[in-house]
């Protein structure tokens, strides 16, 4: 079963979607199975990161922006703006898809894990994330 989430982003950074995904899993009432997330874009990605201290996400975002700076003189794919080519590279280095086990009807995330949509473009966007659910007990 697939459910599409539409996530509004407002510039670069990590946007938490854990509660939206949890809601989809709860609604379907799968006791034991697998939840796979898939982002339908190549300039945004997914990550599971620490959900407690926002400074970890801040440093993660800043580090990646330093690793993949805009206005690299070697870039040839530049007509969509200076944040476009870095966004493709950042997506390739992180995840387009994530699979999380479902146990006892819930996502089996660790205590400190949250699910994030990682927006790599500067402008506002509506990002589509598919939530695919498979049951072990069909």
């Amino acid at each position: 079963m697939n459910t599409e989430l539409s996530i509004h982003t407002n510039g670069q950074g990590l946007h938490e979607i854990t509660s939206e995904v949890r809601q989809v899993v709860q609604d379907v009432k799968i006791a034991d199975g697998l939840c796979t997330l898939f982002v339908r874009h190549t300039s945004a990605s997914l990550t599971i990161q620490e959900n407690a201290d926002p400074s970890a996400r801040h440093d993660l975002e800043q580090w990646l922006c330093r690793l993949v700076p805009e206005n690299d003189p070697e870039f040839t794919h530049t007509h969509e703006g200076p944040d476009d080519m870095p966004s493709h590279i950042k997506s390739a280095l992180t995840a387009t898809t994530l699979s999380i086990p479902i146990m006892n009807g819930s996502l089996a995330l660790g205590t400190w894990q949250g699910i994030y949509l990682w927006e790599h473009r500067s402008d506002t966007h509506n990002r589509r994330v598919l939530v695919n659910l498979l049951s072990s007990n069909q």
Copy 2:
């Protein structure tokens, strides 16, 4: 169900396999489920990237080659050639496995998404990619 694709590569770069994967999905006639790709090598990987403008893939490949240069004086694993150790690192930074939802009998890729085998070795290779299909309606 698993189907193995054999992909001939001719040096480093992104090799599109979207149509081969779509064909496997269509042949099996799964209406709703999950397609998982798995590359059976540690010197080639998988990515989902923009399928429109080839300059994006060119810049992505060039950027990764600059991040992980050959002939790093710290490398000790050098007996298989200068492109060997960078190929393992590039594989670790990208994806060995990808999962794409199946909706209405088709891969639920976004409009601009293509599936690529990313060859990291310089020589020609035949790369084996498994296409694993699971149905939600078994």
Copy 3:
């Protein structure tokens, strides 16, 4: 079906878990399906890498430590020690989850592929890795 592995790590580096995962798959007697691994932490990750020559894993670990050095003056998330923020970044750049097809009752790894838990912290830890199994023949 989900089985949790508890993996004891003793400092940074790649810790092979292939045999532990193979054992879980064999015990469940799934002929054809999908095995998904999920690490329940944000400072350790997963990778599939060459299982033959240990020098490849040594160089991989050293390269990533050079890419993400400790004591970066830009880091603000520093109260858990100098290896904490690099561990989150290294996790984001590698994999929290991996899916491996099951064929003929076994993991369909390539000849030279091993599964590794990648510990990014310096201290000893007990790391929890979920092994999720789905059968194609339910």
